[in-house]
Symmetry: D2
Subunit: 325 residues, 4 copies
Amino acid sequence: MDANQFFKSLGIHLDLALEATEALRGDAQKEIPGVSETKEEHTHATVTTIKIFNKTGQQIMGRPEGSYITIEAPDLASNDKEIYQEISSIIADKIAELMQELKVGKDASVLLVGLGNWKATPDALGPEVIESSLVTRHLFHYAPAELRGGLREVSAIAPGVLGVTGIETAEIIKGVVEKLKPGIIIAIDALAASNLNRVGTTIQLTNTGINPGSGIGNKRTGINLETMGAPVIAIGVPTVVHAAVIAFEVFAALTQNNPYLTQQITEDKMQGIVGQILEPFGGQLVVTPKEIDELISQTAKVIAAGINQGLHPGVTVENSSFYLQ
Amino acid sequence: MDANQFFKSLGIHLDLALEATEALRGDAQKEIPGVSETKEEHTHATVTTIKIFNKTGQQIMGRPEGSYITIEAPDLASNDKEIYQEISSIIADKIAELMQELKVGKDASVLLVGLGNWKATPDALGPEVIESSLVTRHLFHYAPAELRGGLREVSAIAPGVLGVTGIETAEIIKGVVEKLKPGIIIAIDALAASNLNRVGTTIQLTNTGINPGSGIGNKRTGINLETMGAPVIAIGVPTVVHAAVIAFEVFAALTQNNPYLTQQITEDKMQGIVGQILEPFGGQLVVTPKEIDELISQTAKVIAAGINQGLHPGVTVENSSFYLQ
Amino acid sequence: MDANQFFKSLGIHLDLALEATEALRGDAQKEIPGVSETKEEHTHATVTTIKIFNKTGQQIMGRPEGSYITIEAPDLASNDKEIYQEISSIIADKIAELMQELKVGKDASVLLVGLGNWKATPDALGPEVIESSLVTRHLFHYAPAELRGGLREVSAIAPGVLGVTGIETAEIIKGVVEKLKPGIIIAIDALAASNLNRVGTTIQLTNTGINPGSGIGNKRTGINLETMGAPVIAIGVPTVVHAAVIAFEVFAALTQNNPYLTQQITEDKMQGIVGQILEPFGGQLVVTPKEIDELISQTAKVIAAGINQGLHPGVTVENSSFYLQ
Amino acid sequence: MDANQFFKSLGIHLDLALEATEALRGDAQKEIPGVSETKEEHTHATVTTIKIFNKTGQQIMGRPEGSYITIEAPDLASNDKEIYQEISSIIADKIAELMQELKVGKDASVLLVGLGNWKATPDALGPEVIESSLVTRHLFHYAPAELRGGLREVSAIAPGVLGVTGIETAEIIKGVVEKLKPGIIIAIDALAASNLNRVGTTIQLTNTGINPGSGIGNKRTGINLETMGAPVIAIGVPTVVHAAVIAFEVFAALTQNNPYLTQQITEDKMQGIVGQILEPFGGQLVVTPKEIDELISQTAKVIAAGINQGLHPGVTVENSSFYLQ
């Protein structure tokens, strides 16, 4: 059974490029044309960089050309100082790397966009990262140049904090982008994974922005170079899995190494069952840890620290926790 | 396959008495000794009253003797004025009924307790109800008697709003109860159901309080007559289902009317599979609608309106929305 | 001593047109050229409509041509149902009146803008009104026409909820306005009065928008027809007085009917003293009631109810509290 | 004119012992019987320790016997790392000193109490400190002893976060204290000063707890050894001045070195004028900086860092910002 296809048939998009490649490559670790993959090992994390470098790769992966970096850190949310420092430094390095690839200069101004609904905890990662990030644009407009040393011009917006306002998120962001004309946008969002082990342990960074179907909220318009007129780095962390994942894992476990059950439990039957179980709430159901508030708040701290280090030369791994707002 | 037994084997307690009786009675609608059940039909709701009236019933149901009233209202969270008024009036009547059974006088003072963690949206029902409830104890202590007409003495506490403080919820409540000596406690809590259709559509009221194993938070000590020294009415609404429910429903759908699969998929196999799937986060995983914030806020309004009407003679179905705080 | 001039010399702008006319007309009730004034008496409120109808009036008043309606309701924040209904109905009527003057059609879409910083309670009125307002734009985009009966297309934004983001409020609003192209903007803001009796008791509505110097926050750019490209109705409630007001009232009380002290306490001396007292925090000091949170929350409810009734034919004085979000 | 007497005649209590001694000693720097005072100079702060050591001192000062430590740090709220570290270390040392004087052992458990109303920003200091403090009691109950190294048993409560509940703050705290039986209570509160220069720049620590009349909220019952049954260290920061202070400073400036005005402006006249000006809101009016939210949040960070360092041997000046929650 093919996870990718199963979720696609249910209208569920896999947010993580790494999950998409894993599903495509299968146990046989097949090569995917137009796609490269490299791995680095750190003490508390594995970092996988996937590059989609042509139209074929784009089509197979269902994602735009560009870089997709995945940090897998099983103890990300553990509130341990050493892990926190390692992961925030990796995030900082990878932001710098992606900006270089995008040819965004060291002086380019940045607009941070915290996506998601701050009132629904599993979707509140983006707003919480904004809350902790170092915003400096006001300093640049009112302070003399010599006081700006070690800081880059950064502004921030968390449009979902505005609640149900009848305004689509992308409209607000686009409006602000047209006024501010940032050199680059960094958008932070909560993602849905297809594996519970990824919740709160995996961070994806990409220089392709956010594309329709991603995220756990309702974002109909993409937030990317094309729609915004500025390059977009997207940072995402899975905070939920779609409820269908549980069903899929049951099927997978039943049919694994069991030809009899594999024959009995057809894809049609599976889809019928899942469709019926997930009927309430139009299938918009997510699985999330009970203690989701702590997971969100600790993950947000690590990401904000990484962003602060990555953007401002004056913020270092040692002082980064002081500069969390 | 027996839902009750399946969940028990996974250490999952069914919060709703109605679900427990349904599981016990099965399709054959067997009588349960020591337990009575009556139903009323309303325009937008069905109300089932289960009474456990002896030791046998208590043992079979795994619940203390007392009344368990379940309001099933599929459109509870629809923000429709007519439904809102009908359901809040039913809640008010049932609170009055339970208080009468407990022989609590019309002048008895009330302590409202909003259980749950306000920072994790699916668990924030209790604090949100408190936020909207009419609290009057300060009026009674500072205002002349003639100004108190139409109001009962009500105080309120939402201990989980205090966050992770290292103090167990029941300790805080017990401390406050010993100071205030209320005539009765009404505790509001978010529950876990074993059926997605119950999320945001079902309200349970009981005069037995909250007993270990209930609720989606970690409440190790019960909140009941025995622990608090005052009778406790508990009002609960399922806002999540345990993630194991999805797995159970897959098994149930596969094995229904299929003797081959029923034979293949043994209970042992099922438990093994579910145990493995739910390993992350120690199995503390819940399924919840994406738009959980709206569900919580609308449900909290209906319940607070019902409580205000039930407790204060001066609050009526017509003016109850004005008195929501 | 002239209040107007005293505050002007300290760089303090009077937010209420009514206070400006009172200061200009003095005890002698002089006519002000280019300015008309009419009064209506209601059971719980006095409504004064000031019209500035030519350049002369504009110059004397230091305000653009247009209508300035002031509702004085000493018991506005009393949480009494009768007062609440009268005042919200007056607000609804006056919004309709101002929209008619602006020749804004009954079908024109509306953008509500809640100004102010939600984290500083005295400045949080705008965001709290937004929180309670009925927003419908999403219904218009996704629902069939027949379901929209009784509702107008309304969207809303509370830019200050985004916190210190380095983006000027007017930039965000302008960006959103350019995307949404609303027929009219209604901006709600907390004001500073020059009289403590006005705090929480006075509401000003004007069809001239918000002009530099108004409000208690830092709004350097106006929010008006000229800057936004759409007409702007501004609704303001004084929630603070500037700290200099206390000093002014001491001087006024000392010198009233006392020629000796009037001679001794010169304007120069007064300004010197006030300058020194208000030195900390660059003079950005406000006087506010201790229980400011209740005042803000009750005032916000009345205003949101008035807006909901004024904009949506289907919302009436009887059902308006139900439709508060 | 005597500040102390002026405020007393208006029913205003001076929260800071240092202000009381300054008022009593006057320009002549008179000795106060039963009261000693010592000063230490630090790079960014002056620390004054006042000890009231007998009944005479107690009566003159209107305060219980005990130690009152005042840290004056003009740049406290500047968000500068060096200042932040110096002040938090001083707070840590002084907490240790006061605990030693109270003969509270190094293993004594601590209950942190964050007083004040989190919904009214100027009064939200206590709850914000609690939000950032390291709470460990749950670790002690569930973790093996070897994992507790470097941590003391700390629990925390912010009763005002519960809002208007009809329960007096002291009742809730007393209830919790009777359950937890802490070795010592540390209560944090926002104070009212009699001088604008103290707002956000001064920290008072005392081992006498909180006594009626202190603080800007309504605390009718004291929180001290007598009422709680455990010793209480109170940490307070002025975040407002009473509005009468502005009036007083005007009088003081007018009459200073001016015998004519001194003769004209009698205390009776002053009290009459102030009484009239402050009539709205029953005189419960405070003066506060516009940007009060930033002042509160930065001050809360410094105090929480000081408490964390003072209580847990494992938290040092270098790592303290990491351990802010």
